[in-house]
C-alpha cells in the first residue's frame, strides 16, 4: 500500500514537468509560395530525406450513388502513369530514384504521401505534380487496378472484421454517404469509368484546396519555388466539400451477422463528439480510461486481463467531417460472446455513471501528455501531424499548446462528458460469427 502511494506522489511531479515541456524541437514555418500555395514546413537536416504529406477535403463520401468506390479507385490509380510516362515508365522512374509516392482515400479526404532522398528532390516533386495534374488513367491500367480492388473486396467480404465494419457503419448511417462502404461493391466498382476518374481529380485536387506538410532536408525558399512548379497545372479552386450533418442511428441493441468462423468479431458504437467540441480533450482522457489505453483501460482490464476473453479490446473516438462516433471492438471465441458482450456493456455503464478515480484520471493525462513527443520521431509522422493540425484548424502553435489543453482537463470535465455523451442505452453492437449466449 505504502509503496503504491509513494510511487504515485513521485509521478505527479513528473507529470507536471511533462505537461510543461514542449514536444521537442519542432519549429514549424508557414511557407507561402510566390503563387500563393501554402505549406507548413519543419526544416530538418538530420538526414538527406524529405517527406511530404498532403490532403484535400472530400473523399469517398462524395462518390456518386451507384459508383461507390470511385475515390478509392482514383487513389489506387493515380500512380499508374501520368503525362508522357505510362504505368511501367512512371513506376520505373519512382523505383530507380527510390521515391515513394502513394495516395489513399477515406470518407472525408484524399491523401498523398511522398518520400525522397534530397538528391532526387526535384524529380520527386515533378512526378507528384504530374500524377495530380495529368494522370493518364489508361484503359489497361484502370482495368488492372479495378481487378486488384475487386479481388481485395471479395477477400474482405469473407473477413469477419471487415464484414462487421460494413454492417455497423451501414446501421449507423442508413441513407447517408457515411453508411456506404468506401471501397464500393463489386457492381459499383465495375460501373466506374475512366471518365469518372478523370472528372474526379480536378474537382478535388485544386491549388486552394491543398493542405500540405513538409519535413526534412529543404529550406523555405526552395520549397516555395517547388510548390509553384509542382502544383501550377492544377485548377485554382475546387467546390466546397459539404454534406448534411447527421447523427448516427444507435438503437442500443446487439445484432448478429451469421458467419462460419470459430471466433466472433464484436464491434460497438454510440454517438461521439466532433473534433471541434469544447469537450474534446476531456473526451480524449475519458476514452483512454474506457478503452483507449492499450494495456491499462477498463475494457482491457475487465475483458482481457481478468477474464482472458479477448486478445484485443479497445475503444476510440471517431470524429467525422459531418458526424461523430464513439466506437470500439473485440474478438472472442463464439462460446464466449455472451459473456464478453455483457462485460463490455457493464463497463460502458460503469464509466458512464462516473466514478473515475483521481489516480485513474491523473494516469490518463500523464500518458496522453507524456506520449505526445513520440509522434515527432520521423519525418513522415511529423508531416502527417502538420496536415492533421491544418485540417482541424488548430493553429500553428498547437503542437506546443496541446499538452496544456490536456493538462487542464479536470475531474468535473470528465464527469460532464461521461454524463453528456456516454450512453449505454445507445451502445449498438454488431457480432459477426456463430456466437453463443446472446440474449
Amino acid at each position: 500500500m505504502m509503496r503504491h502511494f509513494r510511487a504515485l506522489a513521485g509521478l505527479l511531479v513528473l507529470a507536471l514537468v511533462l505537461a510543461a515541456a514542449p514536444a521537442g524541437a519542432v519549429d514549424i514555418r508557414r511557407v507561402v509560395s510566390p503563387g500563393g500555395i501554402e505549406a507548413w514546413l519543419v526544416e530538418d537536416r538530420l538526414a538527406p530525406i524529405i517527406s511530404l504529406e498532403l490532403a484535400v477535403c472530400g473523399g469517398a463520401a462524395t462518390d456518386p450513388t451507384g459508383k461507390e468506390g470511385l475515390a478509392e479507385l482514383v487513389a489506387s490509380t493515380l500512380d499508374e502513369g501520368a503525362g508522357d510516362l505510362d504505368s511501367q515508365a512512371f513506376q520505373s522512374r519512382l523505383e530507380d530514384l527510390s521515391i515513394s509516392l502513394s495516395f489513399s482515400a477515406d470518407q472525408d479526404a484524399m491523401r498523398g504521401s511522398l518520400r525522397t532522398l534530397s538528391r532526387n528532390r526535384d524529380e520527386a516533386f515533378r512526378l507528384l505534380g504530374l500524377a495530380l495534374a495529368s494522370p493518364r488513367f489508361d484503359v489497361r491500367s484502370v482495368e488492372r487496378v479495378r481487378a486488384q480492388l475487386l479481388t481485395r473486396l471479395a477477400r474482405n467480404l469473407q473477413d469477419p472484421g471487415y464484414i462487421a465494419g460494413r454492417a455497423l457503419w451501414g446501421r449507423l448511417f442508413p441513407g447517408h454517404p457515411y453508411g456506404r462502404p468506401h471501397d464500393g461493391t463489386p457492381d459499383t466498382l465495375r460501373a466506374i469509368t475512366a471518365e469518372d476518374l478523370r472528372a474526379f481529380v480536378p474537382r478535388r485536387f485544386a491549388r486552394d484546396a491543398l493542405i500540405i506538410g513538409v519535413v526534412g532536408d529543404i529550406g523555405a525558399d526552395a520549397l516555395g519555388t517547388l510548390l509553384d512548379r509542382t502544383f501550377a497545372a492544377l485548377p485554382k479552386s475546387a467546390p466546397a466539400y459539404l454534406l448534411p450533418d447527421v447523427a448516427p442511428l444507435t438503437d442500443g441493441r446487439t445484432h448478429v451477422v451469421e458467419h462460419a468462423t470459430p471466433q466472433s468479431t464484436i464491434l460497438f458504437a454510440q454517438p461521439g463528439l466532433r473534433r471541434s467540441d469544447p469537450d474534446w480533450y476531456a473526451a480524449t482522457v475519458l476514452n483512454y480510461i474506457l478503452g483507449g489505453g492499450s494495456f491499462s483501460s477498463r475494457l482491457y482490464s475487465e475483458v482481457r486481463e481478468k477474464r482472458g476473453l479477448a486478445y484485443s479490446v479497445y475503444s476510440y473516438l471517431a470524429p467525422l467531417g459531418f458526424s461523430a462516433v464513439w466506437a470500439g471492438g473485440a474478438a472472442t471465441a463464439n462460446a464466449a460472446v455472451g459473456e464478453s458482450v455483457t462485460v463490455i456493456r457493464s463497463v460502458w455503464y460503469d464509466v458512464a455513471a462516473g466514478g473515475i478515480g483521481a489516480e485513474e484520471l491523473a494516469d490518463a493525462k500523464r500518458y496522453i501528455t507524456g506520449s505526445w513527443p513520440l509522434r515527432f520521431t520521423d519525418t513522415a509522422a511529423i508531416a502527417a501531424t502538420l496536415v492533421a493540425v491544418q485540417i482541424e484548424g488548430l493553429g500553428i502553435d498547437y503542437i506546443d499548446r496541446r499538452n496544456a489543453l490536456v493538462g487542464a482537463v479536470s475531474a468535473d470535465d470528465v464527469a460532464r462528458v461521461a454524463r453528456r455523451v456516454l450512453d449505454p442505452e445507445k451502445l449498438t453492437i454488431v457480432v459477426v460469427g456463430r456466437p453463443d449466449g446472446l440474449k
Binding site: R140, R144, S296
Partner: protein, 465 residues
C-alpha cells in the same frame, strides 16, 4: 496495430530487413560494447526528438522449445508483463503508460524481444523495469490461466479465422521435416492448452540471462551515459550457463510437397511455393546477399520481372512476387506467390509464373537489372535512419541471429559487390523443383466437396550450369 504481437511472419521480417538495410559508407554508426556479465549493448544516437527506444532481445525463440510444448516462448512473452518479486501483475505496463511510454513485445522462431519508447528522461525508469523482469519474474497459476485464454484467442484471431493463415501454417509444417521451424510460433492449440507453469518457469530460467541477451537503445541518448545506466541496472545480474542452440537438422528433401486447402471462406484462389535456402548464418552463406537481390529483381515491386510479365503484360494475375528470409539462425527460405486475376484459371497464372522461373534459370539475370535493385536496396539504408525503431530492429535481429554490428554496417558494400552471375548462380542453386513446397488455396467446390488442387508441381529439367 498489434498488441504483444508475434513477429512470426517470416516474409514480413525479410521485407523489413530488405527495406531497412544500411547504406553508403556507414549505416547506423552504432556504439557497441559488452558488460562483464555478457550482455551485449548497442547504442544508436538520433537526436531529432527527446525520445528513446529501449529494445531487449533474448537469443531464444519458438525453435528452442522442448518437443511437444510448442508455444512456450510466445506464452512466456505474454507472462513477462505479469508481476516480479517486487512488482504486482500489470504494474510494469501501468508504470510505462503513466510515463507516456509505448511498449510491446514480439516472438519469432529464433528470438524474443521487448521494447518501450519513452521520453528520453524516462529511459532510466524503463531500464530498471526491464532489468527487473530479466531475472525476477514471479508467476502464479492465477495469472497464467486467464492469459492462456488470451493466447488462445490470439491464435483464433491470427490463424483459425483466416484460411490464408491456416494454409500458411500447414505449408510451414510441410516445408520442414525435422527442424522445429515446422512448428507455429504461437503453438498448436492442444499444446498451448496443456502448457503448465513449471515448464514455462524452466524455460525462463534456462534462457533469460544477460549473457543470452542484446540490449539496443536508439534515440536521444549519449553512449557514455547509456553505458553507465546499463552497468547500473543490468550489470549486477549474474551470468548463467545457457545451453547451445542446436536444433535437429533437415534431411535432404527428395520429393516436392504440395499442400492444398479448400475453404468456404476463400473467395479467390492463390498459390505459393517456397524453398529452403541458405541464411546469412547457415547453409551456403555465399548465396545470401545474391538472394536478397534475386527477390528484388525477380519479384520485388511493380517493375519486377514477375509483376511486369504476369500482372501488366499478360494480365493473368492481380498480384505476384518473391520474398527471401535470410535472417534465420538456421536455414532461411525463398518463396514466390501468385493470385490470378478474376476469371483467369489458377493453372494459367501458375503456368505463366513457371515460365518466368524457367526463363530465369535458363538465361539468368541481366547486369542492369541487378544494378537497379542494388541502388534501391542501398538507398533504403538512408531511409532506415529516419526513425528510431528501424535501427533497433535491424541491429537487434542481426546480433541474435549470428551476425555482428560490422555485418550490418557492411551491408551496403556487400550488396553493392554482388554480381549478376552470383544472382543467377543462387537462383539455380535454390529454385529446384524437387526441393520445393507448394501451397494452394482454393474456394470450396460448388458441390460441397473439397476442390481438387493441381497435381504435383510440373517437373522442370535441371538448368544447365
Amino acid at each position: 496495430m498489434t498488441r504483444r504481437a508475434m513477429a512470426g511472419h517470416l516474409a514480413v521480417l525479410a521485407a523489413v530487413l530488405a527495406v531497412a538495410g544500411p547504406a553508403g559508407a556507414k549505416v547506423f554508426e552504432p556504439t557497441y560494447f559488452a558488460l562483464a556479465n555478457g550482455l551485449e549493448v548497442v547504442v544508436v544516437e538520433n537526436h531529432r526528438a527527446p525520445v528513446v527506444t529501449q529494445m531487449i532481445w533474448y537469443k531464444v525463440g519458438a525453435a528452442d522449445e522442448p518437443a511437444g510444448r510448442s508455444g512456450i516462448a510466445h506464452f512466456l512473452e505474454h507472462l513477462m508483463f505479469k508481476g516480479t518479486q517486487t512488482r504486482a501483475p500489470g504494474e510494469f505496463s501501468a508504470i510505462v503508460a503513466r510515463n507516456g511510454g509505448r511498449e510491446n513485445a514480439f516472438t519469432s522462431q529464433d528470438y524474443t524481444g521487448y521494447f518501450q519508447t519513452v521520453a528520453a528522461d524516462r529511459l532510466e525508469l524503463v531500464m530498471e523495469l526491464e532489468a527487473d523482469r530479466m531475472t525476477n519474474l514471479a508467476l502464479t497459476d492465477a495469472q497464467i490461466e486467464p492469459e492462456r485464454r488470451v493466447v488462445l484467442e490470439e491464435r483464433g484471431s491470427r490463424v483459425d479465422s483466416d484460411p490464408r493463415s491456416i494454409l500458411s501454417e500447414q505449408v510451414q509444417a510441410a516445408a520442414w521435416l525435422n527442424h522445429p521451424y515446422r512448428l507455429p510460433v504461437i503453438g498448436w492449440r492442444h499444446e498451448i492448452e496443456a502448457i503448465g507453469r513449471a515448464v514455462i518457469v524452466d524455460f525462463y530460467r534456462t534462457w533469460y540471462a544477460p549473457n543470452n541477451a542484446v540490449l539496443v537503445v536508439a534515440g536521444d541518448v549519449e553512449p557514455v551515459r547509456l553505458r553507465a545506466l546499463a552497468e547500473k541496472y543490468y550489470g549486477p545480474i549474474p551470468a548463467r550457463p545457457v545451453p547451445p542452440r542446436v536444433r535437429p537438422a533437415e534431411p535432404p528433401q527428395l520429393a516436392p510437397r504440395v499442400v492444398t486447402l479448400s475453404d468456404a471462406r476463400v473467395s479467390q484462389p492463390s498459390w505459393s511455393r517456397r524453398w529452403l535456402a541458405p541464411s546469412h548464418r547457415a547453409g551456403e552463406r555465399g548465396h545470401a546477399y545474391p538472394l536478397e537481390l534475386l527477390a528484388k529483381v525477380f519479384g520485388g515491386g511493380a517493375t519486377s520481372r514477375l509483376y511486369r510479365a504476369l500482372v501488366v503484360e499478360q494480365e493473368v494475375a492481380v498480384s505476384t512476387g518473391a520474398w527471401y528470409d535470410g535472417d534465420a539462425w538456421d536455414l532461411g527460405s525463398f518463396g514466390l506467390w501468385v493470385a490470378p486475376r478474376p476469371g483467369v484459371p489458377l493453372d494459367r497464372a501458375v503456368a505463366a509464373l513457371e515460365t518466368e522461373v524457367t526463363k530465369l534459370l535458363a538465361e539468368g539475370v541481366r547486369a542492369e537489372e541487378v544494378e537497379r535493385a542494388r541502388q534501391r536496396l542501398v538507398d533504403g539504408a538512408v531511409f532506415a535512419r529516419d526513425d528510431l525503431s528501424t535501427a533497433a530492429r535491424v541491429l537487434g535481429k542481426a546480433l541474435v541471429t549470428g551476425r555482428s554490428v560490422g555485418d550490418v554496417e557492411a551491408w551496403p558494400e556487400r550488396i553493392a559487390a554482388v554480381t549478376a552471375e552470383q544472382v543467377t548462380a543462387a537462383a539455380r542453386a535454390i529454385l529446384k523443383p524437387a526441393t520445393s513446397t507448394t501451397g494452394v488455396l482454393l474456394p470450396a467446390a460448388a458441390d460441397g466437396q473439397a476442390g481438387r488442387g493441381p497435381a504435383a508441381p510440373p517437373v522442370r529439367p535441371e538448368p544447365v550450369r
